[in-house]
Amino acid sequence: MGYLVTLYNDYKDRADFLTVYIREAHPLDEWQMKSNVDQGVCYAQPHSTEQRVAIANDFIQRFHFPVPFAVDDMHDIADHAYSAWPERIYIIDEQGKIAYRGGIGPFNYHPPEARAWLQKRFAGTTSTATNATAAGSGNSNATR
């Protein structure tokens, strides 16, 4: 997750980002993970939109998560359309085509691949990540 935030900060002035919160991977009423218990992250699988939105907001508040955020609906439309569960990254180009299709987590989830795609796409552009950060976020409109 920290990797994603860094990636977002490095490229938010050149690419749009959207996080989509989908079905919980390890809720306490399904396959709960010890690591989540240790960190006090214990949620039942949400059964209503309100519950799902509440967990998404908890997540954002706990980590001050800066990346734009959306929530999948209770029919898991986005999850099913993108075979996303439990975690996955795609990049969609300006024509609305899939330009990068990451593997399914946890084993094939590799955010550095997304960085590599962005690096290649923006190779040769004058605005480096360091310059963009140094220039401040005043002209950044990644969050729309």
């Binding site: 977002y8 749009d16 991977a25 399904e30 396959w31 993108y82 075979s83 975690e87 899939i98």
Partner: protein
């Protein structure tokens, strides 16, 4: 003993041993059950390919009320789309 008894015993040993080995690898017997019961059925690679039109799904904003379509965010710049959950 009859051959089928031996077959039964060997099968039971293989199953119990296999489950034990998986438990050891995954952290505990509960994790093997969780993996088989919850992860396997939900794990799908899907049919999308690079170059396909990105499915234009409807999404919910963080207020829990406003909806928008993915296409609203597509077209201006590349869109990095990250799916995940809290746990």
């Amino acid at each position: 003993m009859k051959w089928w008894k031996w077959t039964g015993i060997i099968l039971a040993v293989v199953l119990v041993g296999g489950y034990g080995a998986l438990s050891y690898m995954m952290g505990g017997p509960k994790d093997v059950y969780g993996f088989l019961r919850y992860a396997l059925p939900q794990w799908r690679d899907g049919n999308l390919k690079v170059g396909d039109t990105a499915p234009n799904v409807k999404l919910l904003a963080l207020d829990g009320q406003t909806t928008f379509h993915l296409s609203d965010r597509v077209g201006r710049r590349p869109l990095v789309l990250v799916f995940g959950s809290y746990t």
